[in-house]
C-alpha cells in the first residue's frame, strides 16, 4: 500500500516544482535572478509585489480580468440552465443535431476566431469593453455549461417534475424553488468551469481589448522592456494570477472530479 501512494506523491511534487520556482522568483530581485542559480531567494524582497499593487495599470488589469470573467460566468449559467433542462427532459425537432453543433464550438481553435472576432466586435461598437470579452468567451463556455448541467440534470429523476406539477406548482416556481436546489452542486461545478476557462483564456481577451478593459495577459508583456525581461516582476504577476483559481477550486473541491466527468458518473 505504501509503495502505491508513492505515485501520487511524486506526481504532486512534479506539479509543484514549476509553481514553487515561480513563487521563489517573485521574491527575488531581477539582479539576483540573472546573476546565478539559487534555490531560495537570497535577498528576500516584496518589491515586485509593491510595484504591482501601487501601479494602477497593473492592478486594474486584474480587476478587468475579474470583471469580464464574472460577467461571462453569470451569463453562461443563466442561459445554459433552461437549455440544459430542455435537453435533459424533452425531445424536440433537431435536438441531437443542435447539441452536437454546440459541442463543435468547443473544438474551434481560438486562433481561427481572433481576426473575425476583432472585426465583429469593432463593428458593433463593443471593442475594448468587458462585455466584448465576456460575450466572446460564451463561444466555448456556454456549450460546456450546457454539457455539464445536462449531465447533472439527467441524474435527477423525472418524477420530481411530475410530483411538483401534481402539487400545482407553476413551471418557474418549480424550477427555482425545487429543481435548482436539487442540482445545486451541478450549478456550482458549471460556474467553476466557466470561471476557469474564461480566466485561463487570454488570446481572445488580449485581442478584443486595448486600454479600458485590458486583461492581465496584455499587461504582463510590459515586463519585457528595452533593458530585457524584468523576470521578478513577471513572476510576481504570474503568482498573483494563480490565487483566484486556487480560491475557487477550494470551494468546489468535493465536486471537481464529478464536474470534470461532466456529471456523467
Amino acid at each position: 500500500m505504501r509503495k502505491r501512494s508513492l505515485i501520487p506523491i511524486i506526481y504532486i511534487i512534479f506539479l509543484m516544482l514549476p509553481i514553487y520556482w515561480l513563487i521563489a522568483m517573485s521574491f527575488k530581485t531581477t539582479n539576483e535572478i540573472l546573476s546565478g542559480f539559487s534555490l531560495f531567494p537570497q535577498t528576500f524582497t516584496w518589491d515586485n509585489y509593491v510595484t504591482i499593487f501601487t501601479d494602477p495599470s497593473w492592478y486594474w488589469s486584474y480587476v478587468n480580468s475579474i470583471i469580464y470573467v464574472s460577467i461571462n460566468t453569470v451569463l453562461s449559467i443563466c442561459v445554459a440552465l433552461p437549455a440544459a433542462y430542455a435537453f435533459s427532459r424533452y425531445r424536440f425537432l433537431g435536438d441531437k443535431t443542435l447539441f452536437f453543433w454546440l459541442l463543435t464550438n468547443r473544438m474551434a481553435p481560438a486562433a481561427v476566431f481572433v481576426l473575425p472576432f476583432f472585426q465583429l466586435y469593432s463593428a458593433v461598437g463593443l471593442f475594448d469593453t468587458h462585455i466584448a470579452v465576456a460575450l466572446a468567451h460564451c463561444l466555448f463556455n456556454i456549450p460546456l455549461a450546457v454539457w455539464i448541467l445536462e449531465g447533472f440534470m439527467s441524474g435527477v429523476p423525472k418524477e420530481l417534475d411530475e410530483t411538483a406539477y401534481v402539487d400545482g406548482y407553476s413551471f418557474p416556481r418549480f424550477f427555482i424553488t425545487i429543481f435548482l436546489p436539487a442540482i445545486k452542486a451541478g450549478v456550482g461545478v458549471a460556474a467553476f468551469f466557466c470561471f476557469m476557462f474564461s480566466w485561463v483564456e487570454l488570446l481572445l481577451a488580449k485581442n478584443l481589448t486595448s486600454v479600458d478593459a485590458k486583461p492581465i495577459a496584455a499587461e504582463m508583456t510590459k515586463t519585457a522592456s528595452s533593458a530585457g525581461y524584468e523576470l521578478g516582476l513577471l513572476a510576481a504577476a504570474g503568482t498573483l494570477t494563480i490565487i483566484p483559481g486556487a480560491i475557487v477550486v477550494y470551494f468546489v473541491r468535493n465536486y471537481i472530479a464529478k464536474g470534470f466527468a461532466l456529471g456523467r458518473v
Binding site: F37, F92, M107, L115, I216
Partner: protein, 287 residues
C-alpha cells in the same frame, strides 16, 4: 422516457442566439475571406478555390500539420496511461483526497500565458531550476531556445504537467463510482489485479475516458498560447504547430485569404477526428 415537446425550443433559444452570434458570423467572415484576395483598404478580388489548392499542396502546411499530429499523438500516448495509473493509485477516501484533488487541479487554473512564462523561467539554462538541473547537475547540454529536441521535450513535459490532471480527475471520478460489491465479488473469484482492472475498472471508466480523450485531443490540437510564449514556434520552425503558423499568416503577414482557407481546413480536421473518436468509442454503447 423523454417527452416530445417542441416548445423546448424556447428554452434553447437564448443559448442558440448567443452562440450563433459568436460562431456563425465569424465563421461566415472566414468563409468570405477564404475565397478572396485583398491588398488592404477593403478591396477584395474573387479567387475561388485558389487558396485551398495552394494550401493543400504547400510543404509548409504539410510540415505544420505533421508536427501537430505528432505532438497530439505523443501527448495522448503519455497523458492517458499516466493519468489512469495515477488515478488507480490515489486513496479512495480520507483527508488526503480533497488535498490531492485541489493540488492536482491547480496547474489547470493558471492562465495559459502564465504557464508559458512560468516554464520559460523554469527552463532557463543555468538560472532556471530545470535548466540548472539539466546542465549543471546532470551535465546534459540543454537549451530550449537552441536545440529543437530540447524544445519539443520541454513543451511535451509542460503539457503533461498542465493537463495530465484532467485525465486523473476524470478517471478518478469513474473509479469512485464503482460499488464495493464489485471488488468483493472479484476477490471471491480470486481475480488478479490485472483482471480487476481489465474487467471491472476499465469498463467503468470508459465513458469518462471518452470525454478525457476527446477533450485532450481538441485542446492539444488547438494549443497556441503556451507554445507561443515558450518558444514562439522555434528554434527555426521546429515547434511551429498549426495554430502558431495560422496566427503568423493571419496577423503577422496579414494574408487573410490563405489564413482563412487554412482556418477552415484546420477546423474541418479537428471536427472529423473528434467525430471519428466519438463514433469509435461509443459504438458498443447500444449493446
Amino acid at each position: 422516457m423523454k417527452t416530445q415537446n417542441q416548445r423546448a425550443w424556447f428554452f434553447v433559444l437564448p443559448v442558440l442566439l448567443l452562440v450563433a452570434f459568436n460562431a456563425l458570423i465569424p465563421m461566415m467572415t472566414v468563409v468570405n475571406y477564404s475565397v478572396q484576395e485583398t491588398f488592404g483598404n477593403n478591396v477584395f478580388f474573387w479567387e475561388g478555390l485558389r487558396w485551398f489548392e495552394e494550401l493543400l499542396n504547400s510543404d509548409r502546411f504539410h510540415a505544420a500539420l505533421g508536427r501537430q499530429f505528432l505532438f497530439t499523438g505523443i501527448i495522448l500516448a503519455i497523458e492517458i496511461p499516466l493519468g489512469i495509473i495515477i488515478a488507480l493509485s490515489m486513496p479512495r477516501q480520507g483527508f488526503w483526497v480533497p488535498v490531492c484533488l485541489v493540488l492536482m487541479a491547480l496547474p489547470m487554473l493558471i492562465p495559459w500565458n502564465v504557464v508559458g512564462a512560468m516554464w520559460n523561467i523554469f527552463a532557463l539554462p543555468d538560472i532556471g531550476l530545470l535548466g540548472y538541473l539539466m546542465n549543471t547537475t546532470l551535465g546534459i547540454d540543454y537549451d530550449m531556445t537552441q536545440d529543437p529536441f530540447a524544445a519539443w521535450a520541454t513543451i511535451i513535459t509542460m503539457d503533461v504537467w498542465h493537463w495530465t490532471s484532467l485525465v486523473v480527475l476524470l478517471s478518478y471520478a469513474g473509479l469512485v463510482s464503482i460499488p464495493d460489491a464489485y471488488y468483493q465479488a472479484a476477490k471471491i473469484d480470486g481475480a488478479s489485479s490485472w483482471s480487476v482492472f481489465r474487467y471491472i475498472q476499465l469498463p467503468k471508466m470508459k465513458q469518462v475516458l471518452t470525454i478525457a480523450i476527446l477533450l485532450r485531443f481538441m485542446d492539444s490540437f488547438n494549443i497556441y498560447t503556451e507554445v507561443f510564449v515558450m518558444t514562439g514556434g522555434g528554434p527555426g520552425n521546429s515547434t511551429t504547430f498549426l495554430s502558431i503558423d495560422l496566427v503568423k499568416i493571419a496577423l503577422g503577414q496579414f494574408d487573410l485569404g490563405p489564413a482563412a482557407a487554412m482556418s477552415l481546413i484546420y477546423f474541418a480536421i479537428t471536427l472529423l477526428v473528434s467525430w471519428l473518436f466519438y463514433t469509435l468509442m461509443t459504438k458498443d454503447d447500444g449493446k
